[in-house]
């Protein structure tokens, strides 16, 4: 009961913060609202017994990505200039978003989802690590991610190197 209540509180926070992200005019405040949204989503994960995912969400999104976004804002434009929202497109965008929302809600409600039936694990870290790194799990996908990061680093070097004369 408590968990269910917490879930809905977090859900309301997440949606409200997300609405603020798209409606605020000041791009710096938008970034702050995005952080609130990230934290609320982490809270959702906790109420769903996904403890490791919640910690990863805080570390990666709240910790790293938010800082990156704010740094990028600081370095690229005057914060006071505000949000360069594309005003003429507002209504069509709203219409598309509402239709998409309706569609997704319908899909979630009307589909026969697969439910495992077993009670959630606590903590999930051990079983997750066995899935990610164990020989019976998804170790190959994890290794490909490592290669992906190598490619991303190479790409970053290319972007960062000054253009030769």
């Amino acid at each position: 009961m408590g968990l269910a209540a917490a879930f809905w509180v977090m859900a309301v926070f997440a949606v409200a913060a997300a609405l603020l992200v798209v409606s605020l005019r000041n791009i710096f405040r938008t970034a702050l609202a995005l952080i609130v949204c990230f934290i609320a989503v982490a809270g959702l994960y906790i109420t769903l017994s996904a403890d490791f995912l919640a910690a990863a969400q805080i570390l990666v999104y709240v910790g790293a990505i938010s800082v990156l976004i704010i740094l990028a804002i600081m370095m690229t434009r005057e914060v006071r200039q505000g949000n360069p929202a594309n005003r003429p497109l507002k209504l069509p965008v709203l219409a598309v978003a509402v239709v998409l929302l309706g569609l997704l809600v319908y899909v979630v409600v009307a589909s026969p989802w697969q439910v495992s039936g077993t009670p959630p694990l606590a903590p999930t870290t051990g079983p997750l690590s066995r899935l990610l790194f164990g020989s019976q799990g998804y170790v190959l996908a994890t290794e490909i991610c490592a290669v992906l990061i190598l490619a991303a680093i190479l790409g970053a070097i290319v972007l960062a190197k000054e253009k030769e004369e």
Partner: protein, 500 residues
Amino acid sequence: MNPIIFNLEKLPDWFGVLPEIILLVFAALVIILDLFVSQKKILAAVSLIGIIASGALSLGFWGTELSFFNGLILTDSFAVFFKLLFLGVSFLIVLASEDYVNSFRRLQGEYYALLLLATTGMMLMAGAGDITTVYVSLELTGISLYALTGFLKDRKSTEAALKYLLLGAIASAVLLYGLALIFGITGKTGLGEIARAVQAQLSGSASVSPALFLGLVLLIAGFGFKIASIPFHMWVPDVYEGAPTTVTAFLSVASKAAGFAIIMRVITSVFAAPDWLARDWATVFAVLSVLTMTAANIVAIPQSNIKRMLGYSSIAQAGYLMVGLAALGSSPFPGALAGMSPAQSGVLFFLASYAFTNLGAFTAITIIAQKIGSDEIADYAGMGRRSPLLALALTFCLVSLIGIPPASGFMAKFYIFRAAVQADLLWLVIIAVINSVISAYYYLRVVKVMWLESPPSAEKVPSSALPTVSLAVSCLGVLALGTIPGLIMKLAEMVNQFMP
């Protein structure tokens, strides 16, 4: 038939990705050597050796049907066919890059390394047997290609890279959402397991659950971005124009082939049963195909930049390929037998033919642009007199793109259209043929400018050795596939016998 001499029970898991591991090792070698050697041509040589080694190892898996890492990776003939295709393409691209890399002299190590990494990602895509490996290998390919697009570091190239990255990220998100929905409805990640779960859920019913339906739609949208089908093609013109020409060639050939490989791996085999489900997505592909062919061919006509024109042309070619996908879903013997259909071997043949043809065209353009410093079609005036062989090669490739014998493009279209007619898709074939006629207009315009207009200067357009070799190999490939298509068709049919 079975060339394996090892004990199958005892094969270690890493054995299944040996070709990819070798390629990775060589990519790492290129990065390290880049620090020490001043003669950067060595890096190209190292890359070529890596590609050959990886290709030889891939060939060892021909005719096998094994799965490794609990089904995360499959090594069947289908995967081998595509791995060899990707490796062949990147081999020719490395050759063709010899002069071109001078436009980014300091970044050559990264260029060859990223090319090898992108190829690794595509090879993993061809062998992916699980939605997790499908997704991460797709991303590996994507990230490498985004970076390669921005290599020129001028305004156009940077803009192209940014657009490609942003739209690619959205496409990835769409794809991921689709994969998540399909996982939610089946509870499985393995492609084979998903196919069985879908079949079990749908046997006896006449409609799909909303989640499966939406999942399938999102998958087609996500993969549609990779193969640049309309309406998911917005990135193509700018990216093709802005990217280094060699990268454009790689994108238009290898990346597109990888998209079709993954579509055939995920959509046309996993959702092949029951029949009505196959006919559902076949209709979607038929509609997308009509849109793609028609719109791309019409927009290609007024283009004045040859890279942009070939960009739209490659979208149109994806349209013809989708005729094959539509035939695959609505063929008279779908279901478990879908893998045996002539439509699939038609698509494989088309991809091989298209690879040689488009690579040849882009290599010719790279060589020409290197000398005349322009990609405008108008500047190609009199190329037939300035450099007859080069112009002849480009003409031959353009003729193949139209689909006129003896070039391979004719046989490629013939196989796909024949399969579509057998699958009762005559209307689609008629539209495709009309489109081929429209496309002849803009392809032949380049030919006319090259041969009939007088050159601005009589100066010859010389070319260096390696790109010319690459161009010659491409043209020979086009000719060989066009005159003795039986050979590769045999191979493509053998691939089908081993498809699950």
